[in-house]
Structure formats: structure tokens, C-alpha cells
Symmetry: C2
Subunit: 136 residues, 2 copies
């Protein structure tokens, strides 16, 4: 059996991205993250940001959501808390994680009912958070 997945090399760039992402609870786009890193003096290419975010996402270490504009936005995942969905502020990107079980039961039941297999829900709830709502 081929023992999978050699862990990625630890590079300055990858660390910078990981640390920035663990320091915020908002969903941010690759370009936003690139700008933020640049503005703090990090030297890093845009390609690297895209690649690394994807790699982290595939590894399950961060979450991806596609916002209303069709952009992918990324956020550090509440570690090892299993499957969950997100409630995201459409103004500032602030997000909270919500348990998946209610939804997953519902998904399984309607998939069975219509004889679909392999059903996976793509679900994100967008709203306006307390802070943004009070900021008129």
C-alpha cells in the first residue's frame, strides 16, 4: 500500500499565509490575503497565495466558500470540529460555524426520496452581522 501524502515543505510563504489566516475569523479572497501579506512586508507571489490556499483547503485545514460574486473566499477552520456550514456576513465576511446534522439528515432524506446518490449540499447562509447592522 502506498502510504500517501508527504507533508508539504515548510516555507516562509506557507507559514505567513497560515499565520495570517489563523489571526482572523473572516472569509477573505486570495487577492485580499495577498495584499494584506504584502502590506506587512512579506514578499510573496500571487500564484503562491492561490496555490497554498487551495492546498490548505484540500487538506481540510481551511474552509472555502464561494461568495455572491463567484469569488472563492477562505477562512481558518474551527479545527477538527467535523462537517459544518457557515453563516457569513455579506458586509464584512465575519463568519460563524453552524452544525451540519439537521441539514444532513434533510439532505439524505430528500436524496433518497428522489433516488439521487452521492448527495452533497452546497450551503452557506449569508446575512448581516450584529456589528455591521448597528453601523447603520
Amino acid at each position: 500500500m502506498t502510504e500517501g501524502a508527504v507533508q508539504p515543505r515548510r516555507t516562509r510563504q506557507r507559514s505567513a499565509i497560515a499565520s495570517l489566516i489563523s489571526a482572523t475569523d473572516s472569509f477573505q479572497s486570495a487577492q485580499e490575503i495577498h495584499h494584506l501579506l504584502r502590506s506587512t512586508g512579506e514578499v510573496i507571489g500571487l500564484s503562491t497565495v492561490y496555490r497554498t490556499l487551495q492546498s490548505l483547503a484540500e487538506a481540510g485545514e481551511i474552509d472555502v466558500v464561494i461568495n455572491a460574486d463567484g469569488e472563492s473566499v477562505y477562512r481558518g477552520c474551527g479545527q477538527g470540529r467535523g462537517l459544518h456550514y457557515h453563516l457569513v456576513c455579506r458586509i464584512c465576511g465575519h463568519a460563524v460555524e453552524v452544525a451540519a446534522d439537521t441539514i444532513d439528515r434533510w439532505v439524505r432524506s430528500i436524496a433518497r426520496e428522489h433516488r439521487f446518490s452521492d448527495a452533497v449540499a452546497s450551503l452557506t447562509v449569508f446575512g448581516i452581522c450584529r456589528a455591521c447592522a448597528s453601523a447603520t
Copy 2:
């Protein structure tokens, strides 16, 4: 009070799109629809297809879903059946509509719990339909 929304002019192109869309129950992209129309002899521009689909979607006459590749795909909506979500085959685009009430209750409750206002769920269930599953 300004009485809104003059209805759109009835053009050959708009009719062609509406009729094609009412003849299938699969979600299709603007480009696919454009090709299909072209292949049946219709003379129609890609811009027009995009514009018309958006206009029909805003009018609530068709539904839009953003698929896994981030493309918008369109489908004739089961008329006047109110808010609903979709269970879509990720192979062929075949879709069925599913009632929204269970989900909407859940959305309202978690939004209240986290003090988010204006919460709207973006939800689509992707799976594999009976036909595609049996086609090995």
C-alpha cells in the same frame, strides 16, 4: 405611484430562449443554450442570451444555480410554486425542486441565535440521478 416594469418587447430571440428552456428540465449554462439555439438554425448573439437569461431570472421565470465550476446555469422554474431549492445531478444537470420550509425555519433559527439579520440561504444539493447512476 410609479407603476413599475414595462414588460419586455417580444422578440424572436427572447421567444426562442423561453421555448428552449421550457422544453428541458436540466440546468444549462448560457453558452450551452447559445450553442443549442445556433444548432437549430436560430440566429442569435451570445450577449443576447446572457442578457435574456438574466432578465428572465430577475423576473422569477427561471431559476439560476451556480455549479461547482462557478458557472451560472439556468432552468425553467416550476411556475408559481414559491420559494424552493434544487436537487441537481452533477452529471447531466437534471433537477428536481424541493420544498423550502424545513430549511427556512432552520435558517431563521440560527440567524436569530447569532444575531444576524437579513439571512438568506444559498443552498443547492448536488448528487447523481438514477439514470446517470445506472449508466455505469
